[in-house]
């Protein structure tokens, strides 16, 4: 149809979509899950290489796909984390298969879906056309819904049903917002693909009708905000995280939330570009703070370890939204930094949690004790992960929270106080949990479990490294994007 016609000649950028698509096709046909998981890893790695290639040589943007400073780093991050996750899920699935929680057929299905997920997320990030981005986000939702329900336990089906209902309503709202944008753009810019192309919209934002933009932004905010997991549209997130396979939880927290936020930020940039429309900052600040407080308060009274950390994701997404809502070079910088660091840390934590849950055979925190004694490596990695997620040095999140809190307090003291209050509430819950999980007299199964440790070592290593020193080019580029966000 029109889309394929307009895509034009094959470029490196297309491989970001073609590789996963082909891999998915192959994986559906591969019966053996070992071979499948290897192919999964290989194709994810190829996707990562391709992403780096795109990073190196930017293709010409057209109305459908484009690359700029903002989305390319998310693409690289996405493909990197999907690569490590695929490696992790290989060992994870092996264990699941031994314990018989997953049949071979579903393992095959899992791998195919995993590639589809990468495909849709890459598409969502790379697409220049809002419509195409919407399709991609919707596809990503579908695949993850299926993944979440893959265990077919009653709880899993509940979770994915909830996930489906909430997110599909949300993206429908987002679609209406997109339609409205196109509507006003088609009046001034003229109908056709250009009127949906994000680059065009950003450049001609001042031509658009501010009133339409306001309504459109409200719809987009509620729609994509749900994907981000902002309160009060967050309800799908904990269930989806806690019931699905752990690699999927890692991808959800590490990547899918970012994709939602990315879409949201694009809309924000259009609104900001048009001078007359309402300022979206206060809305994002308010919702961000509410999500932060809510998430950190919800950490209490949890018994399921994955659910605990999924609420922590809500908290951090709130923090990032708050940062972008504050705006300004420092706050945006902090937001971008926090986005990356949170993705790496949280996915690493979910890796650890997956190991732990498999070792102990339960997600009930009351049954997990003294990991640093019984399983030193996993236990200490958990300690590092939780310290990092609490924003304590030497983790990169300390850097971002330092910037955010200091700059916010000098601008809006009250907001900063609420912010720190939320962070302290979270700290006050995560630390006793960490004590119980990692220290004390060990409980439960004490046998070691053979697992792929290197992905989470890699993640945490990156986080700690960033906390110690951010390379000059990376940082300069962060600053550039921050300036871009306005």
């Amino acid at each position: 149809m029109s889309l394929l016609a307009d895509l034009g000649a094959i470029q490196p950028i297309h491989f970001a979509l073609i590789i996963p698509a082909v891999a998915a096709g192959i994986l559906v046909l591969i019966p053996g899950y070992r071979l499948g998981s290897q192919i999964n890893i290989v194709s994810s790695f190829l996707t990562l290489l391709n992403a780096l290639a795109i990073f190196h040589t930017r293709p010409e943007p057209n109305y459908y796909l484009f690359v700029d400073d903002f989305n390319i780093y998310l693409v690289v991050l996405t493909d990197f984390i999907s690569f490590t996750t695929s490696a992790f899920s290989a060992s994870y699935l092996a264990h699941e298969k031994e314990t018989g929680r997953l049949t071979r057929g579903y393992a095959r299905f899992y791998h195919a879906m995993f590639q589809c997920m990468i495909l849709s997320m890459n598409l969502a990030l790379l697409s220049n056309s809002l419509g195409l981005m919407w399709v991609a986000v919707e596809a990503a939702t579908m695949t993850t819904v299926i993944m979440v329900g893959i265990y077919r336990t009653e709880a899993a089906i509940r979770a994915s049903w909830k996930y489906f209902m909430l997110t599909s309503l949300a993206i429908s709202l987002a679609l209406f917002g997109i339609t409205l944008i196109y509507f006003t753009a088609s009046v001034t810019i003229g109908s056709g693909p250009a009127a949906l192309a994000w680059t065009v919209l950003r450049d001609n934002a001042n031509l658009l009708d501010p009133a339409v933009l306001n309504v459109a932004f409200v719809f987009a905010f509620v729609g994509f905000g749900t994907k981000v997991g902002l309160v009060p549209c967050h309800a799908w997130l904990p269930d989806a995280h806690s019931e699905g396979p752990t690699p999927i939880s890692a991808v959800l927290s590490g990547l899918l939330l970012n994709v939602g936020l990315y879409a949201l930020l694009r809309f924000k940039m259009i609104i900001v570009g048009n001078g007359l429309a309402l300022e979206p900052g206060p809305l994002m600040v308010g919702v961000g703070l509410v999500s932060l407080l809510f998430g950190s308060l919800m950490l209490y009274r949890r018994w399921d370890i994955k659910r605990l950390f999924s609420y922590s994701s809500i908290e951090h997404m709130g923090l990032i939204t708050f940062a972008f809502g504050m705006g300004g070079p420092l706050a945006n910088l902090a937001g971008l930094l926090h986005m990356v660091m949170h993705s790496l840390t949280k996915s690493a934590i979910f890796f650890v949690v997956g190991h732990v849950a498999q070792v102990k055979g339960t997600q009930d925190m009351a049954k997990i004790r003294g990991l640093t004694t019984s399983h030193p490596v996993i236990g200490w990695l958990l300690v590092v992960g939780v310290i990092s997620i609490c924003g304590l040095p030497p983790s990169g999140l300390f850097m971002s929270e330092f910037l955010l809190i200091t700059t916010t307090f000098s601008r809006e003291p009250i907001l900063a106080v609420i912010l720190v209050l939320g962070l302290l509430i979270a700290l006050g819950n995560l630390i006793p949990r960490l004590h119980a999980l990692a220290f004390g007299v060990p409980e439960g199964n004490l046998e070691p479990l053979k697992t792929a440790i290197w992905p989470l070592v890699l993640h945490l290593g990156l986080v700690l490294g960033a906390g110690l020193y951010l390379p000059e080019p990376l940082f300069a580029w962060f600053q550039h994007v921050a300036a871009m966000l306005g």
């Binding site: 056309s129 489906f164 309503l169 209406f176 409205l180 949906l196």
Partner: protein, 224 residues
Amino acid sequence: MLMTDPKLKLEICYLLSGSMAIVSFALLYQSRMAATINTFAVHALLLGLVVALQADIQAEHNLYLTAAIAVLFKAIAIPLALHFIIRKFDLHRTIEMVVSPGLTMTAGLGLVVVAVMVMRPVTVHSDALVTADLIFAMVVLLLGILMMITRRNAITQVVGFMSLENGLILAMAGVHGMPLVVEISVALTVLVACIVFGMFFFRIRERFSSLDIRHLESDGRVSQ
């Protein structure tokens, strides 16, 4: 010969999209499941007609495809499937609404007011048809959501969801020459089709005796 008059086409288009809103009200009012499904079929049929008309008016041939999808899937296939499920699970009982129909209708009226209030100033610069189309689309959208949150039953919730999707397609068809409409409508249909049929219902039939999502709601352990 009659349909050659563009003015008349606009009138009819206007009428049809307005009637979609009215049918949405009817959906909201319906308290019997079979009737709900039939009403939805009508809703989808109207959508197909509107989109086809828009395709004719805007000379956008892609829209014909969208119209066809709407009619074939939403107006025929899905209602049949739903009827099948009802018969299979023997759900010929009335739906217990969460709130009384009267109250629901009142809320619906309120939503119409909201839609008009929000959309009217938005569309002052554009022609009447687009204005009406967008307003009606938004009404259908909001009523669909209202239906989703006033029903307990999975089927009716899905029906509500599909009706709000009809509203979306209505809006997309209304604005001139929106690209990717076909892709998006396909995506929406796939959304409904694959999820509603492919996944949930079979699983749910595996697990639960009925479709009442009270089974699907609680978080399990309250002590979380």
